[in-house]
Symmetry: C2
Subunit: 183 residues, 2 copies
Amino acid sequence: MPTPPKTSPARLVEIGLRLVTEGGVEAVTVAAVAKQAGVKGPSIYKHFTDREALLTAIEIAVLDQLQAALQRAGGETARERLFAMAHAYRAFVIAAPWRYGILYRANASGGAALAEIYRAAIRPIFAAMSEAGVAEARLLVVARTLAPFLHGFLTMEIAQAFRLGGDLDASFSAALEIILREV
Amino acid sequence: MPTPPKTSPARLVEIGLRLVTEGGVEAVTVAAVAKQAGVKGPSIYKHFTDREALLTAIEIAVLDQLQAALQRAGGETARERLFAMAHAYRAFVIAAPWRYGILYRANASGGAALAEIYRAAIRPIFAAMSEAGVAEARLLVVARTLAPFLHGFLTMEIAQAFRLGGDLDASFSAALEIILREV
DNA sequence: ACCTGAACACCGTTCAAGT
DNA sequence: ACCTGAACACCGTTCAAGT
């Protein structure tokens, strides 16, 4: 006689999303997620094969949020929208630093499927780049300059690695001017 | 009656350095380090206050290696040396991807002292930048573009986040050209 | 079909006891 | 002064038993 489910993958991801936002990846414990879902630890394995699978699902949820944040960024021209998105990216990370830590983990298990979701998440930026007039032949190169810069800058800002003073907001904007000079 | 030490902080860092290089931060277990040092787990706490302190010591050792690698990079002109250092940075990470994972961790415990060591590690790059003719007023901005780019690019390359094909070596070089245009 | 308690191997850490 | 065994709380995971 089947017992009715007390929880669901979607609910567990929702809980995990809150946990990672509040305390980072380390706070996303099987036991902690289970407790908030009203079940015991082992029950999690009826919904995800292991903790890594759950983390990947949360990672995807965060990427969805990031994409939404980028799409909300507006601007008169494509160029203005492009810069607005870069600032939206930074605002997204600063607003919840812990949450960003679930992205780009060293032991990415998701493989190619996950890579496609990453691509989708930052697609708005590259669409704006294209519309702003970056030449077709330059798109990949500029993308591979801007994306690592954004990721690196925010990782370092979160880690409080910028300690030489100066206006960090101004540095960020000036860096964008360098990278997006051909826009 | 004091018992003679079987190990030392320096020896433990040496072991930790090997462990992180071979298996990443997760492999740097108190028990694993102790075992290779010929002592039991609890003995570690006579040399480091906790695992985090040991990790920070290993982190510093990795930064020393990075600095040495950068200093070995040669070039006729300051400009060539600057580009050579950027490529040396990349080669350093690619040669031992796991090792790089101990840097820029989210929960950096080292504080200001550690930040100074980070600064020292990449100082060769900024010295070359200065010699290559980057204006004094531009140094901080270009530094805060190049350093995040390098860190972000390598983090992403390690995580196999570049899946759009194309020549990654060429993309890296082209990105450097964009960022260092004023050199 | 899903949930549970019990169990396992592992983890970092503390502490009293040994030399 | 340093090392050790025992213990603790926690971790991810497995599995047989329950409904």
